[in-house]
């Protein structure tokens, strides 16, 4: 468990990140990790067969590209939950700061291996 005895400041945790598409775990609530990530450009098309994934924008704008559905554009203070089993590929024209909520078991890019793929161990 990653529960801590003090508040976690999301902006401060985001500020520690130096690499795009490299999520950091900053908390845990039940079986879900809370992560922050800075993203720019696109990740890779992938899906998580059994897990939903929540994207919340802290600053900037991200477009969640979905297979067979309209793009979802998220701005500051907005979130979207990519349902399990849905092919998706996030894209940000300019740097965007995100909070992610996903199962502790969720792999970064699903079963797709990409040069951008990070393991959970990388994120802890």
């Amino acid at each position: 468990m990653l529960n801590v005895l003090s508040p976690t400041n999301i902006a401060e945790e985001l500020a520690k990140i130096t690499e795009h598409w490299s999520p950091r775990v900053i908390g845990q609530v039940n079986d879900q990790y809370v992560k922050v990530a800075k993203v720019k450009g696109e990740l890779v098309w992938h899906q998580h067969d059994h897990e939903d994934e929540l994207f919340l924008v802290v600053y900037g704008k991200v477009i969640i590209r979905l297979q067979d559905a309209e793009d979802i554009t998220l701005e500051k203070g907005e979130f979207y939950v990519v349902p399990k089993g849905t092919m998706h590929n996030p894209f940000a024209e300019e740097e965007c700061g995100l909070v992610l909520i996903e199962s502790v078991s969720t792999k970064h890019t699903g079963d797709v291996e990409s040069p951008l793929t990070k393991s959970i161990e990388d994120q802890l």
Copy 2:
């Protein structure tokens, strides 16, 4: 499942709330609900035996009073996860807007019944 096909704007969802201590479910990620709540004053001492509960401040300030531990003061952009089995009682001197993340099974005030207690059905 409460997953929707469009972004959810947290501030807009908070603006719909007319009553303090009356959380509204605005999303679901895996087995966790995402809720918003406006709080002012104190709730009631209670615990959730088997479930953590995340409090994230959107505006204002909330103090999470904990049994046998220092109060946790949360300001905008900060979160704290109350570990399962921990007696707690949130308090806000002025109105505070919160995002809560908790298991779909979590009861509002644990096993404590208070005039402020809301059922999950109230929140949907």
